[in-house]
Symmetry: C2
Subunit: 149 residues, 2 copies
DNA sequence: TTAATAAATTAAAATGATTGTTATTTAAAA
DNA sequence: TTTTAAATAACAATCATTTTAATTTATTAA
């Protein structure tokens, strides 16, 4: 945890940004909720618990900055809010998501799975892929079990 | 064109909705701009050209209805607006998108390409896939040509 | 160390997309 | 035709996000 913070700090410094207390508090919340897909408001409320003086706009600015530096990815599941997801260290590509249309749960797929598809797209459409977003909508294993009862 | 309108009309009727003049005007705009990825506001402005009395809220409600009936798909490319995309008739799955990070162009991929990936996901993650969203971000062929100049 | 400068933050206001409300209109059913 | 329900227009309200202006914090140069 501390080492990841250190690395993020260096990442910021290398682009001549500082890891201010507010930014550090925000990063810590993201690290502590790596499994979740928090909205800016979610992050704000969690940061506020430890640093009550922080403002929502600062959280937005921090998330924007982290997105720019590709430390987090901004993603949108179709409800009205953007969600922010820490990128795995060293991951070349953004991971995928499984959104359950029954319970709303969001699970992650860390495996790439798209190598072949991307090769086809680059070739057939002559498109230089820099990033991707892949989300499946369906029924998660938990709700399938529930349905059987 | 007329036959597609007819089919959409029947689709609405089968769920006991009517194809009102406002709804028809909206559907026509979508049909006439099938290649584009219009926001609600875009649709509104285009509908207004032919039917100036229409209200923005009606366009929103119509798009929402069409989305519910899976006649259009609502998609979000990360700018602040939802975009609406007619589903190909008879298409089981939503098509994919190529978003150019230089010029902003959005191209479509109608081919599925995901069959293998979906088989893996259904099996390995025990997830019943109902739909998907796949978007690639990168440099389109037009901008690649431009860069070479 | 101190004055000057730049970066970051707060708090509040502004913006822009989307949704809700109410009165009215239109269409369908009795 | 009368009644009822669905759909709409016009406007107000809401919600996420961004901007602004004043203030604070950190950094640099004297």
């Amino acid at each position: 945890m501390e080492t990841r913070i250190e690395r993020i700090k260096k990442h910021l410094h290398s682009s001549s940004y500082k890891l201010t207390p507010q930014r550090e508090a925000t990063v810590r919340v993201l690290l502590e909720h790596e499994e979740d897909h928090l909205s800016a408001e979610d992050v704000y409320l969690l940061v506020k618990e430890k640093s009550p003086e922080i403002g929502l706009a600062t959280v937005y600015r921090t998330l924007e900055l982290l997105t720019e530096l590709k430390i987090v990815d901004k993603i949108n599941f179709g409800d009205g809010v953007s969600r922010y997801d820490l990128r795995q260290e060293g991951a070349a590509h953004f991971h995928h998501h499984l959104v359950c249309i029954e319970c709303g749960a969001v699970d992650e797929i860390q495996e790439d799975l798209l190598e072949d598809v991307e090769a086809v797209v680059e070739q057939r459409w002559n498109f230089k892929i820099k990033d991707h977003r892949l989300t499946f909508h369906g029924i998660c294993y938990r709700c399938q079990d529930k349905d059987e009862e």
